[in-house]
Every structure is written in C-alpha cells, then in structure tokens.
Amino acid sequence: MKKTLLLVLVALVNLMSCKTGKEKQIYKRIIFDSTGMKVITHSFNKKLKTMSVLYGNAQAYNSALLTEGKRQPGSAYAFVTWEFQENPYWHGSQLSGKLLCVEKLSVSKSTEEGTVDYVVRFGKPKPVNGMVLSKSSRINYILDRRPSIQP
C-alpha cells in the first residue's frame, strides 16, 4: 500500500513538473500597461543591461516640468525597468526585453512638502553602481529626473 501511494505521489509530481515544463515554453510579446500614465523620461544602464521608464500622472508630469522637480501632492509615478538584449534585426542596437521591476511612488497630501510613499510592485530593484540604495536615496534616484524634450 505504501509502495502504491509512493508511486501515485511520484506520478503526480511528474505530471505537475510536465505542466510547469509546458508553461516554460510560452513565449509572448508583452507590452507594459502604464494605466494612462505618461512617459516623463527614460534611461539605460550599460553595466546592468537595463532600461527604465519613469511614468507619471498629469500632476507628476507637470511638477517635474514646471516646478524644478518639487514634489506636488497628488503626483503618482511608476518606475519600470526591463532587461535589454541585442536587437536581432539591427546590428549595434539593443532592445528592451524582459520586465524586471515595477516601483510605484505617490506623493501624499498629508504634508505641504509632500511625503513620498514608495512600494515595489514587481521584482527587485538592482543596486545602482554596485550600491544598494536606502529607501530615501532610491526615491531621490528615481524622482531626480527632468522630463525628456518632447516637442
């Protein structure tokens, strides 16, 4: 009886691993849903092989553009990072690929200065220049960016 149970268990585990194996074969083209937020700017890191976009709602975009980066209550941001890879169709070019990390920031209305709430929604932020940044340094690293010139 014990032997039979063991066999059933082994079979179940095998079945599950087969399913996992099949799931690993699913390759898709995925486009990040920024839920209506606008691109403020973007950046890339050659050493980490990453590309990032800083998205913001209208309040966040305007405060980045018009108030020299002073954080306005009501501003919401998403800092999204992808791994990059060689572009298969164009030698000398790299293209964003796998999604690595999604960080969300919002400036609460509780204080005049605006307190920044920070949360990691997906993945794990990579160290910058080999340094793991503290929460406040990470917030500054993300928000200390002016909008890219977009005529």
Partner: protein, 308 residues
C-alpha cells in the same frame, strides 16, 4: 543548325538592340573615407551605388543588361557614393549603419549579383574594416558639451516651444501629431553610442503585437519612435539629451510601394519634415526595413518574445 537554334540566335541578337546603356554621370561629391574603406566600397558597392560603374562584358548582354540596368538605377537612387558628401551628418550616420547591417545580414552585395561577380563579396577582414569605420564614425563629442547643448535646448523647449501645436506634414501627406505621448510604450532601443529611443504604439499597433498580426499589420496601426542623444549622468547611466527626431510608421495600404507602410520623420525641436518628394521613403527607408525586418512585418523595434 536547327530552325530552333537559328530562331534563338535571332531573338538573342535582336535583344541586344534593345539593350539599355548605363551612363556614368559626373562624380560631384565623392565619399571622403580612409583608403582601406574606400577600397572595399569600390570593390563591393560602387558598381551599383556610384557614378563610377564598371561592368563586366557579360553585364552588357541582354537580357542580363536589363536586370543590371534596373539594379544600378535603383542602387543610385537609394544611395550614391558619388554624391555622398551632399548628405547631412545625420543622413551619413543613418546610411552607414544601413550599409553595415545589410552587409552583416548578407543582403548586400545582392546575392544574385555576387553569384556572377564573386570578387564583390566581402571577406571577414573587409567586414571588420567597415564595422570599425561605422563605429568610429559615431565617436561621441564630450559628454559635457552634449550636456550643455541639451540644457540649452531644454530651457528653450520648456520656456518657449512647449505647447506649440506644430502644423507639420511629410511630403507623402502624413501629419505630425503629438497624440503618441498618450500611447503605450512598446519598446525602448539604443543605437550603439549614438542615440536612445522610446517607441510608442497606438491601440491597434499594441493589439497587433500582442496577437502577432504582422503579415499584414492591421490598417490604422501607428508606431512612433522618439529619438534623443545620450548623456551620461552622475550614476553612470544614460539619459536623453538633445532631441534628434520623431519617426512615424503608419499602416495604410495606399502606400503600396513601401509594403503598405507610410514613413515620416520630423527633426529637431522645430520638427522639420524629411524628404522632398512624396515617394522619398521608397528610395530610402524601406530598403533596410524590407530586407532586414520582414519577420515582424517590416518593423525593427517590435518587443521580443519573452518567457514571463
């Protein structure tokens, strides 16, 4: 000699009378490149892409001459090394990267041409010569001067140009619109040390990518690529500097000469349209898109397939 052979001989001789002669117009602005680079270009490219065409005897025989004549005409239209120095620096950079990619992908010299002209093929060391030249052509100006230029352009844009509704139209009728700023980002791309790009897609384009509807793309799909210089920041990362241009691809079957895609490019903060004639893209853009990105319906920056 059979009647058939005599007939074939007459047809062949008659065809020679219809042969099209390839003229060599004056060389007005020949490419100025190092001698080793010139030597490779002359050997492998000049016969179709310059006004110094030197054909073999059999290239002059019809019907081969018909094909050769068409290839030379098309080659000179797309890129002519005898008029190279008339191009802007940005155009030269773009074409150099095009040359390198066409060579690396084995699309140039044209395979049929290379079969009958084996000496035109590039060997590994010749490909390296071109690669080094193209990459060195891109050597950046110092980061500081790029930053100063970007700061100045940013101030101009933020204080004066922002909010300007540019009424700009490409010669093929494609209008500029900044509605792409509210579209989804489909991907980002870098070009070596030269530029960094964000590529946006409208809802039709986003759905087409997710469903792999590339052959053909659905009508109404629009893809916009915004391009900036690269500036290194204090973290050793790269951020957008001066705005270079914005490039549009609009899926509309009326652009049948360019695989159903209408191309447009608007450069600088004043968004100056590229091209003089409505068919400008059939003589430039589509060549690389058609040869190198057929798999994704002629787009280079479709996000790759990922195992999530």
């Amino acid at each position: 000699m059979s009647i058939f052979s005599v007939f074939a001989l007459f047809v062949f001789l008659g065809a020679q009378l219809t042969g099209t002669k390839i003229e060599n117009p004056p060389v007005t602005a020949k490419i100025d490149a190092p001698i080793d680079v010139l030597s490779v270009l002359k050997k492998s490219c000049f016969n179709c892409h310059s006004n110094e065409t030197e054909l073999s005897w059999f290239d002059h025989l019809a019907p081969i001459s018909w094909r050769v004549s068409a290839d030379v005409k098309r080659g000179r239209e797309v890129m002519n090394f005898s008029e190279w120095e008339n191009l802007s620096e940005a155009e030269k950079k773009g074409k150099l990267w095009g040359i390198l990619n066409m060579i690396k992908a084995g699309k140039m010299p044209l395979p049929l041409y290379a079969r009958f002209h084996p000496s035109a093929r590039l060997d590994i060391s010749e490909i390296e010569t071109i690669t080094d030249y193209v990459r060195s052509y891109d050597i950046n100006q110092p980061n500081l001067s790029k930053k100063i230029a970007a700061d100045s352009e940013y101030d101009y844009w933020r204080n004066e140009a922002i909010g300007t509704k540019f009424d700009r139209t490409s010669p093929n009728g494609i209008h500029y619109s900044d509605e792409f700023k509210h579209w989804k980002v489909i991907s980002m791309a870098n070009l070596y040390d030269n530029s960094m790009r964000v590529i946006f897609g409208n809802d039709i384009a986003v759905k087409a990518i997710e469903r792999e509807e590339f052959h053909p793309w659905p009508e109404g799909a629009r893809v916009v690529k915004a391009v900036w210089e690269q500036i290194e920041d204090k973290y050793g990362e790269f951020r957008p500097g001066k705005f270079i241009n914005v490039q549009l691809m609009v899926k509309d079957n009326k652009y049948s000469n360019t695989e159903g895609w209408g191309f447009a490019k608007f450069s600088g903060v004043d968004l100056v349209p590229t091209g003089k004639l409505a068919n400008f893209a059939s003589k430039s853009c589509i060549s690389c898109h058609r040869q190198l990105a057929e798999e994704t319906g002629f787009l280079f920056n479709v996000p790759p397939k990922i195992n999530p």
